[in-house]
């Protein structure tokens, strides 16, 4: 059988800067999702003749944050270009965007984002305005007319373009999820909002023709669309031609839209109504200083400052609320590994921020009980579950439920003997094999949940040594 052709996937992600209160070039509210159609418009974003765009400085700052978080180099002087095409959702007949050809300079370029240890290169990042939205009665091909809603027109979009460094649909989805959480941690966009993050993809097999798939509305659809397109190209091997295809969400297939020869000529040229965006070194430094820490660098800091294992540091850093909770606890107590481990396995963001949130001081006391063997980790977990369910302090739960570890070594030793008797030969196995040792400890804990695993292990080890002699 022939080896499967190598797949190369590049993505074009459009992310609305939903944290901006206004649109990119006017003062209209950018919060349009609960509005009536054409309610959030003004003469500027409606494209009325005589109006002029004025750049929202905050949008530049937010876009620069994304660029820096993706390790891009930010252009000291970038330009807005007009992308000209007729479409009813485009009130001016052109979209104000940026461009990397015809003398254009995008806001930032040459970055990367690491996904599962592999760098995905970011080609460029640019600022542009979102078009309006068309709605149809029924389906696009059946509807007798379309309705236009310009509420979305002029919303600030950041376009993030990658090199074709992704190799499968799963990887693409992982990339997008990581990108979304990174952008969310910067506080510039809420990627969960409907349509706030959208994506186009280009796919080629074994250096074959590049096919673009547009209209992928959510990240959930990305994996489906890519898998479909890869399968389609494999099945019709050699038949893929340079073209643009449309993802039909309802039927879960891609449909040919136009071939490369029919590609529109957008007649890009510099937008004369907007001066260049100037972001000197000092301005970029300012943005960098004002940036919240993103997950990757936070994880590195957790490992460095608190000695957490890389895995635990990453898991903790991925959750913004838990990270903040952990750092508060770390000011009260130095049992970092235990505090981090327990919160990653037992607590959600809601548990540390919601109405029945666990107080850091209470949590630290609980951890201290585990560390001093007063209670077992399993008991601590039980107390936390109860505490977050009821809103009572965890320490109180420990008291009222009478949670305490069995510290009586004689009692534990008796359980060890009982388990050994029930499974002949299991002691010998535990002596030979590490896995069997752990299994044995597990059996003891099953019999006596209040026992401390560490004590069980110590007693079992000495029991095995005694047996040898």
């Amino acid at each position: 059988m022939q080896a499967e052709a190598k797949v190369r996937i590049g993505l074009e992600v459009h992310c609305q800067l939903t944290a901006l209160r206004t649109k990119l070039f006017c003062a209209c509210s950018s919060d349009y999702r609960s509005s009536e159609p054409n309610e959030k418009v003004c003469p500027v974003c409606f494209g009325l003749p005589g109006t002029l765009p004025v750049l929202n400085a905050k949008a530049v700052e937010y876009a620069a944050m994304i660029a820096l978080a993706l390790d891009c180099s930010v252009a000291g002087r970038s330009l807005f270009y007009r992308k000209n095409y007729f479409y009813p959702d485009l009130p001016k007949g052109f979209q104000i965007s940026q461009y990397d050809k015809a003398g254009g300079v995008p806001l930032a370029s040459s970055g990367h984002l690491e996904v599962e240890g592999k760098a995905v290169r970011i080609t460029r990042i640019q600022l542009e305005e979102d078009p309006g939205k068309l709605t149809y009665e029924g389906t696009i091909d059946r509807s007798s007319h379309s309705l236009v809603d310009y509420n979305r027109a002029g919303i600030a979009l950041v376009e993030i373009v990658t090199e074709p460094d992704l190799e499968d649909a799963r990887g693409a989805k992982m990339f997008l999820e990581k990108l979304r959480s990174l952008i969310e941690s910067l506080g510039v966009s809420d990627g969960e909002l409907d349509g706030a993050m959208r994506c186009d993809a280009n796919i080629s097999l074994a250096g074959g023709a590049r096919v673009e798939v547009k209209n992928i509305s959510s990240f959930k659809e990305v994996e489906k669309a890519l898998n479909y397109e890869i399968l389609r190209q494999r099945t019709f091997s050699g038949a893929a031609s340079s073209e643009t295809r449309h993802w039909d969400e309802r039927r879960s297939i891609t449909i040919a839209m136009r071939s490369k020869e029919e590609e529109q000529d957008y007649r890009y040229f510099p937008e004369p109504d907007l001066p260049p965006i100037l972001l000197g070194a000092a301005a970029v430094d300012g943005v960098r200083r004002s940036m919240p820490e993103v997950a990757d660098s936070k994880a590195a800091r957790f490992a460095r400052e608190y000695g957490l294992s890389p895995q635990l540091a990453r898991e903790l850093a991925a959750n913004k609320a838990l990270s903040a909770f952990f750092e508060e606890c770390a000011r009260l107590h130095t049992g970092y590994q235990e505090m981090a481990g327990l919160s990653v396995s037992e607590l959600s963001a809601e548990d540390v921020t919601g109405e029945r949130a666990v107080a850091p001081a209470d949590y630290v006391e609980l951890v201290k009980m585990v560390e001093s063997d007063a209670i077992t980790r399993a008991q601590a977990k039980e107390a936390l579950r109860e505490a977050t369910r009821t809103g009572r302090p965890a320490r109180e739960v420990v008291r009222s439920k009478n949670l305490s570890a069995v510290a009586d070594e004689g009692a534990i030793a008796a359980v060890i003997e009982r388990v050994a008797a029930a499974r002949p030969g299991s002691l010998e196995e535990a002596a030979r094999d590490k896995k069997a040792f752990s299994f044995f400890v597990g059996q003891v804990l099953k019999e006596e949940p209040k026992a401390q695993p560490a004590i069980v292990a110590r007693l079992l080890a000495s029991r095995l040594r005694a047996k040898k002699t």
């Binding site: 494209g47 003749p49 005589g50 002029l52 007729f86 007949g93 000529d265 040229f269 001066p275």
Partner: protein
């Protein structure tokens, strides 16, 4: 009363002092409009009631001794591509029929704040594309000096209105000479400010990187007052300068270094025009200026560069006229949106506009962009640099505004012939420089204008020179519009 019995420059102080009623003055202007405009057709729309109401308000405040603005009582004609809330703005195009902007251009807002009174909206070449005001979707404007001649364009309605005493001053816009050309043909002063000096907010775009709103009028002091009222930074126009406008020295022309630009007197220039402008140069010398010849070798390229850039920008600016949201409604039918757009645009745009959209689309197309648009921008740079260099040795550069006398209405030049007479005016737009046309003589009863170009933000020099050249009496009036 006869509005012409008062010099425009005196109106504000007379109104403020209570010795002239703004209402009476404005009513007399409206009376002239009623009497003369049926023939000249300078206005597309007259806001009779609005103008009188504002005038009464100014009078009321003057009577109470409250402060009135520096333009108090002046009747201002506004070109139809400059938005005034609640007045229709068509740019003399059928495609914008029925468009009433909900906002007022910053420049007009500032004029109104100084109690200037908008008389109405004036005719123009459709979207500013032309130099005759024949290319109007609503019929041509005629030259008050000779009704068989064009008034120039594209701000022909504004120029004709002030020349015929149907406004005290006027607001025009200049993309490649659209203020200076009609100022020259109608014998008034017209100033195109430095790019970025006057806000373009509310100016319906033809070619954004070239155009400016500017003042026009027979009395250069009133033109000056109108300019300073409109000038200054506007947060709604990102291309306006933050540098405050430079006030006039009010000095004479003693010691002014004037460069007579050889290329402006080149072949194609009517010898009669050349003579009158050379006379004008002698008068400058007579007032103490040093006049010398100078050559700017890149100027002959300016026309081609101008038309490429202007048409490119226009093709994009005019994309929004699709009949979906405002203006000429698209016909109801079952057609797809593409053909609906085509129908609206075919019906709404005039021939010249269609020609420029097509050519602009062509020069921006893949494969031609580098050869036309990019090269044009490079030459534009060279022209700018050459001006900067020339201004090291001169305070003013001069020449004929238009190389010809006002053409006859029935002449019907080819498009190229029509483009060619913009040869002297377009360079100032390419370089973003302030430039004025000042009346400097007559051939029979046909006016000749002299163009003055100054360094960036030196409108003060242009206005001082205009005042000196025109003199106390203001520009002469045409006999045909008594």
């Amino acid at each position: 009363m006869d509005p012409l019995s008062v010099k425009a420059r005196q109106v504000p102080s007379l109104v403020a002092g209570g010795s002239l009623s703004a209402e009476e003055y404005v009513a007399s202007i409206l009376e002239r409009v009623e009497r003369l405009d049926g023939r000249i057709h300078a206005y597309l729309q007259v806001d009779r009631e609005g103008a009188l109401a504002r005038a009464r308000d100014v009078d009321k405040r003057a009577r109470r001794g409250e402060r009135v603005g520096r333009l108090a009582g002046l009747g201002v004609a506004v070109k139809d591509n400059v938005c005034v809330a609640s007045l229709q703005a068509t740019c003399a195009s059928r495609v914008l029929e029925g468009f009433f902007p909900p906002y007022t251009a910053t420049a007009v807002e500032r004029v109104q704040r100084e109690d200037g009174i908008v008389i109405g909206k004036t005719n123009m070449d459709e979207f500013g594309m032309g130099n005759s005001t024949l290319n109007s979707g609503y019929g041509p404007t005629l030259n008050p000096w000779d009704a068989s001649r064009v008034p120039g364009g594209s701000s022909g309605g504004s120029a004709a209105a002030v020349a015929a005493g149907m406004a005290s001053v006027a607001i025009g816009s200049d993309t490649g000479g659209s203020i200076r050309c009609p100022a020259s043909f109608c014998s008034v002063v017209g100033l195109k400010p430095t790019y970025g000096r006057v806000s373009r907010y509310g100016l319906i775009a033809y070619a954004n990187s070239l155009e400016q709103i500017g003042p026009m009028g027979g009395d250069p002091e009133a033109v000056s007052a109108l300019f300073y009222a409109m000038a200054g930074h506007d947060p709604r126009d990102a291309t306006t300068s933050r540098e405050p406008p430079r006030g006039r020295g009010g000095a004479g022309l003693e010691g002014l270094r004037v460069g007579r630009v050889r290329e402006f007197f080149g072949e194609g220039a009517d010898p009669r025009v050349r003579e009158r402008v050379l006379d004008g140069c002698s008068r400058l010398e007579g007032m103490g200026a040093h006049v010398e010849d100078v050559s700017l070798g890149s100027l002959p390229h300016s026309l081609a560069v101008y038309y490429i850039i202007a048409m490119a920008e226009a093709s994009s600016n005019l994309s929004r006229y699709d009949g979906v949201r405002y203006g000429l409604p698209s016909e109801k039918g079952t057609a797809d949106w593409n053909s609906a757009y085509a129908r609206t645009r075919s019906a709404g745009f005039g021939e010249e506009v269609k020609r420029r959209i097509l050519m602009g689309t062509f020069v921006l197309s893949a494969g031609y962009y580098e050869a036309y648009y990019v090269r044009a921008q490079k030459v534009r740079e060279i022209i700018s640099r050459e001006f900067s260099l020339a201004f090291k040795g001169f305070d003013l550069l001069v020449g004929p505004t238009m190389p010809v006398l006002p053409p006859r209405v029935g002449d019907e030049p080819t498009p190229l012939e029509e483009y060619l007479i913009d040869i002297n005016t377009v360079a100032a737009n390419l370089a973003g420089l302030p430039a004025a046309s000042v009346p400097c003589g007559y051939e029979g009863n046909l006016p000749v204008g002299m163009q003055l170009i100054a360094p960036r933000f030196r409108e003060d020099v242009l206005l001082d020179a205009a005042v000196a050249l025109v003199g106390e009496g203001g520009a002469p009036r045409p006999a045909e519009a008594p």
